[in-house]
Symmetry: C2
Subunit: 121 residues, 2 copies
Amino acid sequence: MITQVINVNEILKQALLFDFYGELLTDHQKEIYGQFLLEDLSLGEIARDAGISRQGVHDIVKRCEQALAGYEEKLHLVEKFMTVKNKVKQIDELLDEYEKERREDILSGIRILSGEIIEEL
Amino acid sequence: MITQVINVNEILKQALLFDFYGELLTDHQKEIYGQFLLEDLSLGEIARDAGISRQGVHDIVKRCEQALAGYEEKLHLVEKFMTVKNKVKQIDELLDEYEKERREDILSGIRILSGEIIEEL
């Protein structure tokens, strides 16, 4: 169960990195790694489609994972976007609370969050 | 006057690109281009400090500008951040309006913007 959660998080993380930095990969890398990551094809299936060895696909996948992780290590833009997205979700949650009590607290909460996001960007 | 505005916007744009993608430049490029862009030193001053020719500094600056523009052309992350930042500023402006009339309109406006931002990210 824990393993499954870790795997799911890992896949989501890889998909985010691919979404942010994928255009910095070569077209060939993008095609192979995209099939592996998004189309959930096995290394063997991808190898057959691409006419390369299973090991070749494996090497490309590893190289892409390293390249994308390297871009995030340098730029931290996925991390930055996730921080902002989380704050905006908190704004939405505060709006959901609006019909309840302490309306002014909620509005000042939104104000604080929006200010933090502007600082972040 | 128009020329000045264009120049200011151009400098801001270059500073944003450098802020987002600068870590993808080499240390040498970062140092030279950073001095040119952020410390407002002349090519001659930078050349003397770095012990290279004025032309060498000029070439590095041009190469950095092209590299950073190339990253934005592929990733569009500065554009994305600016869109989000603009929407959050609109949320702040709506909060400023709150004390006036049509409070529910303002809250639904914030809701729409925060939803758009979550879609964006």
